[in-house]
């Protein structure tokens, strides 16, 4: 029985169960060990922590994955904003990108206050959202696509096939759309102002970042005939 990389083995004596081998027995490269293999995941949000720890009962003793260095109980911590910072960062300069995004949120708030004072009636004033985090979350939600094109090779040629994907992938694609519309222009204006205008427009379903999402959806419609290539 020659064992090859990535193949599954079936035993049929007392039932069927699978055994997956990740590397072949004939390879000389060692597999780097996963140092977090035996550790249990830890809770990374403060609301969950408060919900879990109500009693005085002691908790089971386990070795858990340690908390990240960005995770803190400060008021300004948000997991989606952290993801945005990590994707925008270049050459490992995190302090610089954090300052950029603080400026962005400040600019959003100032613009919304202008709109608030310009609005005359009370009904219009209630419609204006001044919380910059809510505007940020809403903009990222409007930029997330539902389907993604993936190249599948069949019969020697590659076809682009529409395919579902999970939440993390969609987040990343949405954030990339926002960043790439702002970074490619020849700009003499700092990045924070360009990002602020783009995010405000995305919150209202306008602008170039949301246009990229609509373009992706149209291409998926055009390639609808190849959707069955997703399964063998």
């Amino acid at each position: 029985m020659a064992l090859c990389k990535g193949k599954t083995i079936y035993h049929t004596l007392l039932g069927i169960y699978k055994q997956h081998i990740s590397t072949s027995y004939f390879s000389t490269n060692k597999v780097l060990s996963n140092m977090y293999k035996d550790r249990v995941p830890s809770v990374q949000s403060i609301e969950e922590l408060n919900a879990l720890c109500i009693d005085d009962k002691p908790v089971e003793k386990k070795i858990r994955i340690p908390a990240k260095s960005e995770f803190s109980s400060a008021v300004t911590y948000d997991p989606i904003v952290q993801k945005f910072i990590n994707i925008l960062m270049r050459d490992g300069k995190k302090e610089k990108t954090r300052e950029i995004i603080e400026q962005v949120l400040e600019n959003i708030k100032m613009k919304q206050i202008e709109n608030y004072h310009k609005a005359t009636t009370d009904a219009e004033k209630a419609m204006v959202v001044t919380d910059p985090l809510k505007v940020f979350h809403g903009a990222v939600e409007n930029c997330k696509p539902l389907l993604i094109l993936k190249t599948i090779v069949k019969g020697g040629s590659g076809y682009r096939v529409p395919v579902y994907c999970h939440e993390r992938r969609r987040l990343r694609v949405g954030i990339n759309f926002i960043i790439k519309t702002c970074d490619t222009r020849k700009r003499k204006v700092p990045l924070s102002t360009v990002l602020a205008t783009e995010i405000l427009q995305a919150y209202n379903n306008e602008g170039n970042a949301v246009g990229k999402k609509h373009q992706l959806h149209k291409e998926c419609e055009a390639q609808r005939a190849f959707a069955h290539y997703r399964w063998k």
Partner: protein, 343 residues
């Protein structure tokens, strides 16, 4: 048959040789130590060998030993078949007779129980013996105990696949209605699961020392990358923070400051505790991570059990073992490789 006879003769000659050498060596050792050879015990021999042939090997089975061959090799080389060549055990040709004997017995019992249930369901007659479900979930033998069970008793070498099959069969059996003899059969290989939970040692958590001036305090070390921190926490304080003689302005970046204050804000003990810390090595973020690790471990006795649970669940008490990866020969850096050339 012939091969078997050959092996038996070799085995006998081996044992005789080893026993002679053992006896000789034992007398020499007794002479060296100054004890009568009849009064020498195995402990004397072990001590002598640890002194004469010291070794730094970790595996205790590979260190030099001096034992009678009956402890190491099996004495009797039994013939598992009779003169005509017919084996005694009915599963001798499977090469693992005792393992397959257990599995087939368990499967046979399952068949008997199924027939009983069918008979009860079709005719409506009461069962011949008392049959009950198992009240608790049973835990089956570990891999290691399983291998030792067959190696020591029957000198058979069993594999991992066979252990998996064993576990599957036993769980299937344990979920049916069982008679007393079946329960006795199952108890050889498993025991009910204990609902005990491993809990953190309360003695270790609640330990603290008392100052000359009567203040309680506790010191703990914190580690991250190549930074080492020594953190002392005084109870019943005002909220003083000191790092290498300076306040929190020792750190310039906002990430580092938030990291240091995180365990205090979680347990809401900012104004109730004094903190003094000493840090060496590493960079800015490494030093702040080390202080956070030491702080959360030193805070434990001065805080309620609810907060201790929070600190342990969020992963603040464990050390971050990530370290910079080494450079390798044949490559430029840890993962970056030289430019590929066709020839």
């Amino acid at each position: 048959m012939k091969a078997f006879l050959k092996r038996a003769k070799e085995h006998e000659s081996k044992i005789n040789k080893y026993t002679e050498e053992y006896e000789l060596g034992r007398k020499h050792l007794a002479n060296m130590m100054g004890i009568h050879p009849d009064e020498m015990t195995q402990e004397h021999i072990n001590e002598a060998i640890r002194y004469l042939l010291p070794s730094g090997l970790f595996d205790k089975g590979s260190r030099p030993q001096f034992k009678h061959p009956k402890d190491i090799l099996p004495l009797n080389f039994d013939f598992p078949f009779d003169k005509a060549g017919r084996p005694y055990h009915y599963q001798y040709y499977t090469l693992l007779p005792n393992y397959h004997c257990i599995m087939s017995e368990a499967a046979w019992r399952m068949e008997c129980l199924r027939e009983e249930e069918v008979r009860i369901g079709s005719t409506g007659a009461p069962p011949q013996e008392e049959m009950k479900h198992l009240s608790e979930e049973y835990e089956w033998m570990d891999l290691r105990t399983f291998l030792n069970y067959f190696k020591s008793n029957h000198s058979e070498v069993v594999q991992v696949n066979e252990h998996n099959r064993f576990v599957i069969l036993m769980t299937k059996l344990s979920k049916m209605r069982l008679r007393e003899q079946d329960v006795a059969f199952l108890k050889q290989f498993g025991s009910p699961k204990t609902s005990e939970i491993n809990v953190m040692d309360t003695e270790e958590i609640k330990k603290f020392y008392v100052n000359e001036q009567g203040r309680k305090f506790r010191t703990k070390n914190g580690y991250r990358k190549s930074a080492i921190a020594q953190v002392t926490v005084y109870a019943e304080g005002e909220g003083i923070l000191e790092i290498n003689g300076k306040g929190i302005e020792y750190f310039e970046s906002q990430y580092a400051r938030e990291q240091v204050l995180f365990p205090l804000v979680l347990t809401s003990s900012l104004n109730k505790v004094d903190v003094h810390a000493r840090v060496e090595g590493g960079g800015e973020m490494g030093q702040s991570g080390a202080i956070r690790h030491g702080l959360s471990n030193a805070l434990l006795p001065f805080v309620s059990q609810q907060m201790v649970n929070k600190l342990s669940l969020s992963g603040l008490l464990d050390r971050d073992s990530r370290v910079k990866e080494r450079n390798k020969p044949g490559q430029k850096k840890a993962r970056k490789q030289f430019q590929w050339r066709a020839r």
